[in-house]
Symmetry: C2
Subunit: 323 residues, 2 copies
């Protein structure tokens, strides 16, 4: 059984090493930093009940539960999830709880060591080497860090608009994109739209798509914003790679999250930076969803190999399900 | 009569052209962007009652009221304040309402044309030339702009700490300053302290003093943060100067706000930048408080010259009052 526990919603699945999916369940957020532990427990109950109802026999046969859960960077938080799952698990199943970076990493490396760069609204780098040592960078949130995230791209777009308006920035089509988005004519009229939001972080991150669109349409300011983000991403990845891997090892680096729906805008810069540092990386897109990564982790923890057809089979059977 | 109406508190004074102060009053916030118009009206009533009680005869003799009020960038907002003051003013007094940038400018130029750079928690540049034309830059708030503000300095300090911790930033004493401030041992423990604040903007801006302390103590990272802020300030000032003044005019530039309590850290960079652009500016510290600037504006609007001893007299008589 694999569980991908997030801050917005959670997913769980029962699956065999061929990639046959017997049950697939979805529930709400289980991040202890944002919801109560009662809520976390209720959502895990929902996931388990749902899986059990869909496939009662397979549920009882589960030998290993891997739960990759957001907000469990600290031991205490992991133990709380572990206790909750003890009461809910299939009778003979072992349980492993780790943070959700493992799901994202294994979704790309299929259980092998490597580094994952997550760039959605926020940004985080996580890596694991063959000795099982781990390291991270980022994850500081939008007021401190989140370099190379959707938020950083959106914030830089707003700043570029403000500088153009004030007369000390280069002209940029980003201003028009943003004015259209908020349906206003004057850049200053953006101000209440941004500050009166209860979640300005998300609204600013949503502007990142305009940076990508404008960059593709040869807007120099947007291209510079992309290049700066790619530089910050490279530095974060490099920090984790050098902590965990030897100089001449080839390191798989998984790029995941909303920003990398346009990975092609970033990868040339990132590759160029690592060439300069003479570090050998292999940028890859994830083959599976994070839930698939959690299943891989479960098999890995129970010393089982997944079948060579696993990825295709898993994708095919989950595509028709809840994903 | 001069009124300095702010977002946190407001002040008003009755004063003659020699700088003799007959009454001095203090009240709460009158910025319509943050408090209700009923509250604004109540605070202006408080100011006026207070002045009238302190000096009933002088109050009736007032010929001109200048109110420089925050949050009155738009005509509608200015008219609302004007209507409120119509009902409260001394019988024969004319009223002029403008935004509070005029107070800050005149506090330095004593009524002459020039530019003022305000860098407190946020940042704003405002200028006026001899034809009375005005221009501004900045004032976009912490999520869009505020370059060169206390907020920007504090944010860059947090970012420097995060990068050092993650292994992609230079070592910096800023981390120790920040850890001490929040009384924690691990940089990651800062995160809840920042995000659980109801006013994170102010708390981040408060960290700016550590950037200044560290820069004075030869911390390279802090010095780079100061230099970047000085660059951004220079560009904002330049944008306003070039909109309003001829190439070879010498332009007084007033530096005011909390960031410039250490103006000496910024002025060398700013002067250097303007030398490069071959623009002639004269950086000055304000001689008066913003309330003094409002009084200057009142005399200016009523075509009266202030006495050569005005500044010293005003400072001396307000020092013993509410300021």
């Amino acid at each position: 059984m694999g569980i991908d526990g997030g801050g917005t919603n959670s997913r769980a699945t029962l699956c065999d090493e061929m990639g046959h999916v017997y049950a697939l369940a979805k529930a709400g957020p289980v991040n202890q930093n944002s919801v109560s532990i009662q809520k976390v427990e209720a959502e895990f109950q929902l996931l388990m009940q749902n899986l059990r109802q869909q496939a009662p026999e397979h549920f009882q046969q589960v030998s290993y539960v891997f739960a990759g859960v957001a907000g469990t960077g600290k031991e205490e938080a992991r133990l709380r999830v572990h206790e909750i799952l003890e009461d809910l698990r299939p009778l003979n199943a072992s349980i492993e709880v780790k943070h959700d970076g493992y799901n994202a990493l294994y979704a790309g490396t299929l259980g092998e060591p490597g580094v994952v760069q997550i760039s959605g609204t926020g940004s985080l780098t996580f890596g694991m080497n063959s000795q099982g040592n781990t390291a991270r960078a980022g994850g500081w949130g939008y007021l401190i860090g989140d370099e190379g995230s959707g938020y950083a791209l959106g914030r830089d777009a707003l700043s570029a608009m403000a500088k153009e308006q004030d007369g000390w920035g280069e002209p940029t089509s980003l201003s028009d994109y943003i004015l259209n988005q908020f349906e206003v004519k004057n850049p200053h009229d953006i101000i209440p739209h941004i500050y009166n939001q209860s979640h300005p972080r998300q609204h600013i991150a949503n502007l990142s798509r305009y940076v990508m669109d404008a960059a593709i349409n040869h807007d120099t300011v947007a291209q510079n914003i992309i290049q700066k983000a790619a530089h910050d991403l490279s530095e974060q990845i490099r920090a984790v790679v050098t902590k965990l891997f030897d100089k001449h090892q080839k390191v798989p680096v998984v790029l995941t999250g909303g920003v990398f729906t346009r990975a092609d805008l970033f990868t040339p810069y990132i590759n160029q930076t690592f060439d300069q540092y003479n570090i050998n990386i292999d940028l890859i897109e994830p083959k599976l969803t994070p839930l698939g990564g959690a299943v891989i982790a479960a098999f890995r923890a129970s010393d089982m190999q997944v079948n060579s057809g696993f990825v295709n089979q898993f994708i095919q059977t989950t595509r028709d399900g809840l994903e």
